[in-house]
Symmetry: C2
Subunit: 205 residues, 2 copies
DNA sequence: GTCTATATTACGATAGAC
DNA sequence: GTCTATCGTAATATAGAC
């Protein structure tokens, strides 16, 4: 992977955003200068201002895209109908998929710290998401499918901390061979769901 | 919690480090200026240079402290003797405790991205830690105490992603009442170990 | 849509007095 | 150990030509 994208004749907001998110994830948002972005996009700093108002707008566009994808999962029918434990499993699995599908955007979202207005709005929407998952967890416990001794708030924090930690190491596979120990997209989601619901202990032991 | 510490007459490297790590964790390392640190420490920018060579040295001191604490866990006798599954459980529990004990330092460590030499060294030591835990996981699977279908590398990434995600929300309790849903230090470690080994599913269901 | 050139501010770091 | 004052650099952003 080169630190600099190939030069191109013309950019759109979306193509520029894709480049910017990649650089933000390598150098950090605050550690990235407009000059860094210009080099990576193959244009000059001032050309970037033709597409967006500034660095913060690129951040706002990126985290909004990530959040919209995550919230869409909660609105899908299988996340709204049936036993709470099944809905929870569905949300976990689909959130993993969404995270991997939109990896650079979600990665950036999860690293936001609240320094700017755009970041604080993103943090608030994340809290809302977490709250809705905690409610789902509480329902699944009340329905008896999850262990009764679980603290729903604590458990949902742990489970989504686990899901979100995928951004720390998961890298999409290229050319049929990847660096994730042979674990592709759905294999990771399967392993994660199995860990969450049944743990690592061997029942036969 | 005020964004600025109380003014004090004199600083040591350690007291300055504690202030700096707190600010780094709120604003991000790159988002923190020497002026921010000076205000938080109640002294001027130039006074900071009397104690340390610059901003990067504060970062290096902080992540070194965090890493030393984590590696010390691996050298404790219960992490080196007995069945691998029991050693693994010990390492998970003690790593949680170490993370909480040293929360600001470990939080900063886990957010480092590799922009500077100090950060790249820290990332390398983290990889070494992860590798040693993955070996422990593989032994526990080979000994039959963990499910045979587990991928040790993937599973150890998930488990330590889970442990590390504590830094995203855990806050130490103050005045006997905390904001962690009544879950104190060891209750969190207990819930995490229970989740990892046995999952959330109710066996009676 | 991109460029060169530049305004303006903020930053990390140093000099030297107390 | 801390201060005031300042240096040199790098940052965001704008103006105006092509």
């Amino acid at each position: 992977m080169s630190a600099q994208s190939a030069r191109r004749d013309s950019h759109t907001v979306q193509s520029l955003l894709a480049v910017a998110v990649g650089v933000f994830n390598v150098r950090g948002y605050d550690g990235t200068s407009m000059e860094d972005l210009a080099k990576a996009a193959g244009i000059t700093k001032s050309s970037i201002y033709h597409h967006v108002a500034g660095k913060e707008e690129l951040l706002r566009l990126a985290v909004t895209r990530a959040l919209d994808g995550l919230f869409a999962v909660l609105d899908e029918p299988p996340a709204r109908e049936g036993a709470a434990a099944a809905r929870l499993e569905y949300v976990i699995r689909r959130t993993c998929a969404e995270l991997i599908e939109n990896l650079p955007y979600v990665t950036l979202l999860l690293r936001v710290r609240g320094n700017t207005a755009a970041e604080r709005e993103a943090l608030e929407r994340r809290r809302d998401f977490d709250h809705r998952v905690a409610e789902l967890m509480a329902e699944a416990i009340a329905e008896g499918d999850l262990r009764a001794d679980l603290d729903p708030r604590l458990t949902s924090r742990l489970v989504f901390g686990l899901v979100n930690s995928l951004t720390e190491w998961y890298r999409p596979q290229e050319h049929g061979v990847g660096g994730n120990g042979g674990a592709d997209h759905s294999a990771v989601a399967d392993a994660l769901v199995a860990l969450v619901f049944d743990g690592v202990r061997n029942p036969a032991a």
